[in-house]
Amino acid sequence: MNSSNPSSKAALFLLPAVLLSAVVFLLPFVWLVYTSFKTQGSGSLLLADGLTLKNYGRLLDDLYFVQAFGRTVWMSALATLLCLVIGLPVARLIATWSGRAKGLLLALMLVPLVSGALLPSLGMIHFLGPLGVVNGTLKMFGLIDTSIKFLGTTTGVILGMVQAFLPLMVLPLVNTLSRMPRDVEAAANSLGAAPVRVWLRVILPLAMPGIIAGSVLVFCAAFTSFVTPQVLGQGKIATFGTVAYQQAALVLDWPFASTLAVVVLVAIGLLLILTAQFNRLIARKRRIAS
């Protein structure tokens, strides 16, 4: 037996994977950051010489972009909140099921995630359209006379986001809710807590890691989404995704599109770091050895 550290040997085996990740993920990012400090030469798609902050200045100056960012933030936040409100009972139901039914339901939840954003969004058009299921149902019960306009409105886009990203909320929630310590709810119940209080004092605090993870996932996915706002917003709702697409694919201003991307990536990075810190704080408060 030689005495070399087994973990350093393992690291050696991991080296190719690490290098590949660096090439695939890190290099494009570095390139993105680099381009964001460039401008295009006049009348060409090539990058001009010299580094500049011009793109960042433009982003702050132009109200159109600032507003698009702000709109995307609150729409994503609202979509996240709706996903949480819908996702909690759904996840709870799945978590209390066992065996085959649970696996099947989880697999079903994954379908919209793996089928890409386009098909569900097209489905939502029929669902939310003037003659769609929602309007039809509301009219049938006499709740409205004229169709509610969902398509081309922020409401429609938010509903589309909820539909598209709900699984990102449900999956982590199911995970934490399934690992709830045994009998704590029954214990709270027997100590005098009615169901609502059991939720507030026991289930929600214990599900916090899942709530945070799900919220971050849904928020990031909603914020960076393109297909959903494009299809359901029908070009009338400018979000970060549609704006970045316009700049990159229609205006062909790559440096500015890069700037948009860098700002969002940095914002998401900060959000993730904050979340990690928050999780650490909770863990320390509970003093659960990791």
């Binding site: 009998d183 029954a186 214990a187 119940n189 100590l191 005098g192 009615a194």
Partner: protein
């Protein structure tokens, strides 16, 4: 239990089905105020289910539960004032010990100062004063269990339910916690129902034991009564440490009983008892500590062959073959050699006779 005193907890004809399987079959049980009752039975016999039905955490399929004269029918668990200590303790991992114990008081909107006093008292009671600021994960299993006890006692419950309270503790701790819980009961006086599969626990802690098997209560009585006069062969073979040996005897002639290929002629008084029932076969219950090892040809002795023996500190438990059936005997002194024939002389007064078909005890005082 005097007939005049109304029972504190009254369980009447409770049944419970999960789908097709009937887990509880017609359970009736009355418990006076201040009693310490143990539900004793092998695992899977429905003890925890019965406890959950009492606590309101599970609905019975039939029957009723009354507490303090009131029906608990339709009363949700959170309105019952019944303290439950779960097998897993079920402490809230995100709360300090203080907050855990205070939980039930918060639910009752008790003023802060009063609640703080009550929490302190409860923790003192279980000898955990000074541990209030710890998190449950920083406590040992025994300490966690005491927090769970304090949490249940802090609400001054009308009834305290303990589900296998000692099963997650190591053997040494188990013995001392047994005494602690009993002493706590003497001091607090809360009516207590404890569930356990360990007959030693039930017999040493409770003042009344209900032996359960397959969803029924087989016998209810003091530990002494259950040990001395088991109602069925199941109870006889379940209680006692080690439990009684149950051997089947076939009548060969007046005063002569056959165990496999061994004829036994018990001494006259015992022979008369065994003949009294006019049975061709009986199940004989023999307590290992009430049998003496004698010479193989001693009059009135059973002939058996030594199979093995285990050293138990104070003495030795010898396992023997009695005409193809197993029997155990407690013996002091040196281990008899494996394969040798010995005589077994049961203490006639401690021999229990059961109906071979129904398993019911034949002699009832």
């Amino acid at each position: 239990m005097s007939a005049a005193a109304a029972p504190h907890l009254k369980i009447e004809q409770v049944t419970k089905r999960f789908g097709e399987t009937e887990v509880l079959k017609d359970i009736s049980l009355s418990i006076p105020k201040g009693a310490f009752v143990a539900l004793l039975g092998p695992s899977g016999c429905g003890k925890s289910t019965l406890l959950k039905i009492i606590a309101g955490l599970e609905a019975p399929s039939g029957g009723s539960v009354h507490l303090g004269g009131q029906s608990l029918d339709g009363v949700p668990a959170y309105k019952r004032d019944i303290g439950v200590v779960f097998q897993s303790y079920a402490l809230f991992p995100h709360m300090t010990v203080n907050d855990n114990v205070r939980f039930g008081l918060d639910m009752r909107a008790m003023p802060k100062a009063e609640a703080a006093t009550r929490v302190g008292e409860a923790l003192e009671l279980v000898k955990l004063g000074g541990y209030g600021e710890r998190m449950p994960s920083e406590l040992s299993g025994g300490q966690q269990q005491r927090v769970a006890l304090a949490r249940s006692l802090a609400i001054r419950p009308r009834l305290l339910l303990l589900d296998e309270p000692l099963s997650n503790l190591d053997a040494v701790l188990r013995k001392s916690v047994r005494v602690d819980i009993r002493e706590l009961h003497e001091r607090v006086g809360a009516t207590t129902v404890m569930v356990t599969h360990d007959q030693e626990e039930a017999m040493s802690m409770a003042d009344t034991v209900a032996v359960m098997a397959e969803g029924r209560i087989l016998q209810l009585g003091t530990p002494e009564a259950i040990y001395e006069r088991p109602a069925t062969r199941f109870v006889g073979g379940f209680v006692g440490n080690p439990p009684a040996s149950l051997v089947r005897a076939l009548k060969r002639f007046e005063g002569g009983w056959l165990f496999g290929d061994t004829i036994w002629r018990p001494e006259d008084r015992l022979a008369a008892r065994m003949d009294r029932f006019n049975r061709v076969d009986l199940v004989v219950g023999l307590r290992p500590e009430r049998i003496a090892i004698v010479a193989p040809d001693a009059p009135g002795a059973l002939r058996a062959e030594v199979r093995s023996s285990e050293y138990l500190g104070g003495g030795r438990l010898v396992h023997l073959d009695l005409g193809g059936q197993k029997i155990a005997v407690e013996a002091a002194g040196a281990a008899p050699k494996t394969g040798t024939s010995v005589g077994l002389m049961p203490d006639a007064g401690a021999v229990m006779l059961f109906d071979a078909e129904t398993g019911v005890r034949l002699e009832r005082e």
